[in-house]
Amino acid sequence: MADSITAEPGPADVDTRPTGEPLLVLDHVDKHFGALHVLKDVNLTVHRGEVVVVIGPSGSGKSTLCRTINRLETIDSGTITIDGRPLPAEGRELARLRADVGMVFQSFNLFAHKTVLENVTLGQVKAKGVKPATAKATAMELLERVGVANQAQKRPAQLSGGQQQRVAIARALAMKPKAMLFDEPTSALDPEMINEVLDVMVSLARDGMTMVVVTHEMGFARRAAHRVVFMDAGQIVEEAEPETFFTAPRSDRAKDFLSKILTH
């Protein structure tokens, strides 16, 4: 069964072990796009401090899975619980819960008309009511942490892709989220910029952030993930520790998929 979490998390590289307490729980989640069944009875529990890498062929529903977790997509049936609270359908409560889950997009999606600094302060001030001065201090701290503090006054378009993505991570962290979702955060980047983003993500993982990361970067999975979840055709087919998954996949679909991405 996909929902019985058997993999014992904890690769050698990550110091903070998950506490085992469930933070994100997807229970029998189903979703259609018209006639297309994109998520088929998905069950997934992510524990506090755990880093889960989601991997799978194009169109298997990885993005949709991520997007349902902070309800950028609605679900047809099942439940999604964040830190014990079911995700509400609409309104203020939903907006608040959304801020609990940070999201990093493949295409960065920084607010194009705002400076880097404003990108990181906006949500704090307008969604959480943090004082502007405090928000600015937090923002500068985070920009420092992701290594783009010296770009604070620039517009997103003036930054490289790698810098933009690090700002996007800072923007999400500024909301002090309980968990972070990453949907292929490095696939839009030039190769030389991938590592600067992955390094930030690895350091986040080491600090104990709960993360769900859709990525094909096996290096990242090996360095930082506790668990790899393999999806195919809207289903979670297999879950395992990264090393186990990459060296000894159980299902034929995973074997097939890995053989394809490994030959490249």
Binding site: L72, M103, K128
Partner: protein
Amino acid sequence: MDEGYLDQFVSLFDQYDVLGAFWVNIQLTAYAAVLALVIGTVLAVMRISPVPSLRWAGTTYVTLLRNTPLTIIIVFCVLGLWGQLGITLSSDFQTNFFRLAVLGLAVYHAAFVCEALRSGVNTVPVGQAEAARAIGLGFWPAARLVILPQAFRGAVAPLGNVLIALIKNSTVAAAGSVAETSGLMKTMIEFRPDVILAVFLTFAIGYVIIVVPVGLATTSLSRRLAVAR
């Protein structure tokens, strides 16, 4: 009497308050533009909102107003609102007509402002709205802080076109008994048919002088404000 061309213009400007008439059109335009921008923005937000009844109301408004001749709207404001329903916007007779005309111009052009803004909204990638929602902003804050500011920048050129149309359409206020350029022109043609060419040129050049800078300004503004992506 054989006046020189220049003398013809001078005599026209001496006899009639041409500048005053243009000033009325500029004022009509200015007030109507501000009001149309406000109403148009509200309509645009309604049309992109997640509430179906608001979307429907916005769409209906735009369809109705955009397809009604402006003259009819102005005449309705004066004869309908004031004449029939007794709605006055000022105790002063002239001011009342002026304000009713502003109202008519504004409600009509608001439909076009709405459509210009919607074309601006279409220049904003969906990801901007998703990022706004993802950091916990609701629909209204996301619209106000993220979508509309970018939509306005993307809509400067079409909004400029609406403004130019509004400047020229302000002459329709004559239908609402507002003393402005087109009314004055009629009077001048009636009483000074001897210098009819000068009369036409006066108003044509007057509008060119007003409209051309607006076009140039909005073009350069739209370039300067364009959101770099």
